[in-house]
Symmetry: C2
């Protein structure tokens, strides 16, 4: 009789550290942006680890990467689990990587136990979750869910002018033998483990976060166009200084957020042209990232931001492009219960919470019952080289995921116990 | 008896247009930054034009470029005339180039007339006046005047990490046979023709600007250091957002300038780190350019700016580096009179004015009697591809310069007249 599968905390941790070598920054942290040569190295590792236990590697037209543990009943839609392996330019070792490697560990444990699930289980690493190289993020899951078109996404360019399509070709060319799955193949359920990227779990002493949903998010690109002039001669009253217009807008926007405890408002990216010390700036392009758990409030704040741009841009011209408009969503209640039950069985303190960050699970929730398992991250620090999760929390998250996968794939979590 | 020298307006204009091909931008304008391959091409043109009339080319340890018309009494200190040929990244055809080519034209006219001046006349193209690639500008004239040290200037890096020393070596290697003059050789007088870069001449209908002095200028580099964080999760009240601190500072500085009609305040360059759409910015580095004709007022405004940084930076840390501290200065009264007299003789309406922009002549004024001759620039537009000077104004400026050079080098402006 096959033994009950259980995860190897040591192997999972070692693999997390090894993956962190692909794109490692001096000191700590990683720069492993979407479809980069560093991400190709990371694909190679996943490919090799999957091969050790006979997982079948594949990809799709969106550049998502899959490792499949074949089930006994291949006509059933598979259970999908994982996250992403791309990072911010100065990212940490856990954002994304933890979810994909926890899913790989759980599937490896099942395969090594000698059991065969009824449904196939597919480990996924979504293409470009972060959106730092090619904006906006969630490209792979958006394409999988059909919420964006392949043509539009593939034409998106990075700062060097390279398109997603060109970058993806270099990745696919590096893996010429990989099977290509149809985009958006049917799935039974989706589970995504992830670090919390905030400190609610840490502050409450909980180890497992049962994610009720994801807060809504809107992003914008705003362009302010003024007139280039000599810094030493152009009279102040005649200037159309795009940078000064930007500064007024940024301050008024920040002020407009005052009094709301949960809103998140960020201007993270600013490009100034010509960006020369003695030239009055002609053009400023910047990105707004606005999030709120309440959809009506999110809409109200976003209207206010658009109003501020229109109001303060003069004497410059302005243009607002809406990039992302993702309302807040809720995850499957049954799956949340299963996470809570598993955590209790293992003695892990659990906390129900809303995700402040966006995740690929938001896209999957439109296709199939979906859920997220959070683990604490130290000090709530994420998108930063100092990002850190404790080894025992990493193991706990993978253990809860394994319970869910056993149940969802047709292997009850008691099966295999002698 | 040699004929009276006179400039060729056609040749001067043709050379201005030809020089504009080195670093030409699509459409119009030039990108010919200091010590770039584009500037090497421009040196080659000057070198070839000088050779046509036997001018002796040379350089110095600062990377200044000289063309000398040898005088009959070589022990006398030479008259120096010219400007610079580097440009802003999106610069025009006249800023700098007009002054160097007007001097070359005047000297060529003297040589072609078959006369030999008593004093040598040296045409100069100063290294890195603009300061856009390597900051701050006026490097060549600062080094010539001894107001900065060679070691410090040579170690300055551009955005790609290349030093001035490395870039200068590529320029000097391209001209291995060039004589090297001692840095700061004695000079008798310095005259710099230049476009006005403002529209006082145009609005008053004047053709020649008699420059009384240069307004004072201070520049700063300010660094704001906050903390990188996830845009979707970091609570607003816990953020140390360097970009928001920057925006508050920029708006307060702009407000602090209100009510003064002549102050010029510019933030032209801003670098955000990590500059990713969903990351709270950890660091902002920006440049301040502050100018005023009154030194006491300039000091008062600069103190106010420093105070605003200290006051608004929190919760970020701040660092202020003073880059340039150049008080306003006056030019030689006798030379101003000579310019006014020459303009009157030719029937060019003249206007006394203060230069709002900084120029290499500020540095030379500390070494020898110095002056500047301004000509109008259309709409006051400069540091921009649309920068434009009328051919008849270009010719007028060179004609006045020729008068001064004849007088200063020991050839009265009547000599050679039949």
């Amino acid at each position: 009789m096959p033994r009950r599968p259980s995860i190897s905390a040591e192997r999972l941790w070692a693999r997390l550290m090894a993956l962190g070598e692909d794109g490692a920054l001096p000191g700590n942290g990683v720069n492993r942006q979407a479809l980069s040569s560093q991400e190709i190295l990371a694909w190679r590792r996943l490919h090799a680890w999957g091969a050790e236990t006979g997982l079948v590697p594949s990809t799709d037209a969106a550049g998502n990467f899959f490792l499949t543990l074949e089930g006994a009943l291949p006509h059933l839609a598979p259970v999908l689990a994982g996250s992403h392996i791309d990072s911010q330019p100065t990212g940490g070792l856990f954002d994304g990587a933890f979810g994909t490697l926890a899913a790989l560990e759980a599937v490896t444990a099942i395969a090594e136990a000698g059991t065969k699930p009824e449904r196939s289980i597919v480990v996924v690493a979504w293409m470009n979750e972060e959106g730092s190289r090619f904006a906006p993020g969630m490209m792979g899951s958006d394409l999988f869910a059909g919420s964006r078109t392949l043509d539009e996404v593939m034409a998106t360019r990075d700062a060097d002018g390279m398109t997603v399509g060109e970058a993806l070709r270099t990745v696919h060319d590096a893996f010429p033998d990989l099977e290509h799955k149809p985009l958006g193949f049917p799935i039974h359920t989706y589970i995504e483990p992830h670090i919390e990227q905030a400190d609610l779990l840490e502050r409450s002493g909980a180890v497992i976060g049962v994610v009720s949903g994801i807060q809504g998010k809107k992003t914008y690109e705003v362009t302010l166009s003024g007139h280039e002039a000599h810094a030493g001669t152009e009279p102040m009253e005649r200037r159309r200084d795009a940078l000064q217009a930007f500064a007024r807008i940024a301050v008024r926007m920040q002020d407009a957020m005052a009094g709301d405890d949960v809103v998140k408002f960020t201007i993270g990216r600013v490009e100034v042209e010509p960006n020369a010390p003695s030239v009055v700036p002609a053009k400023v392009t910047f990105r707004i990232d606005l999030r709120h758990p309440d959809n009506a409030t999110l809409d109200r704040f976003s209207a206010r931001l658009e109003h501020i741009v229109a109001d303060e841009a003069a004497p410059c011209r302005h243009q607002i492009r809406r990039l992302v408009d993702a309302p807040s969503n809720g995850f499957d209640a049954g799956l949340q219960l299963a996470i809570r039950t598993s955590a209790a069985r293992h003695g892990y303190p659990a906390l129900d919470l809303l995700s402040a960050a966006g995740h690929d699970a938001r896209q999957m929730a439109a296709l199939a019952p979906s859920a997220m398992i959070f683990i604490p991250c130290r000090g709530g620090i994420s998108h930063h080289p100092d990002e850190w999760a404790e080894p025992e929390h990493v193991a706990a998250g993978a253990t809860v995921l394994l319970d869910l996968l056993l149940e969802l794939s047709g292997l009850s979590s008691n099966q295999g116990v002698a």
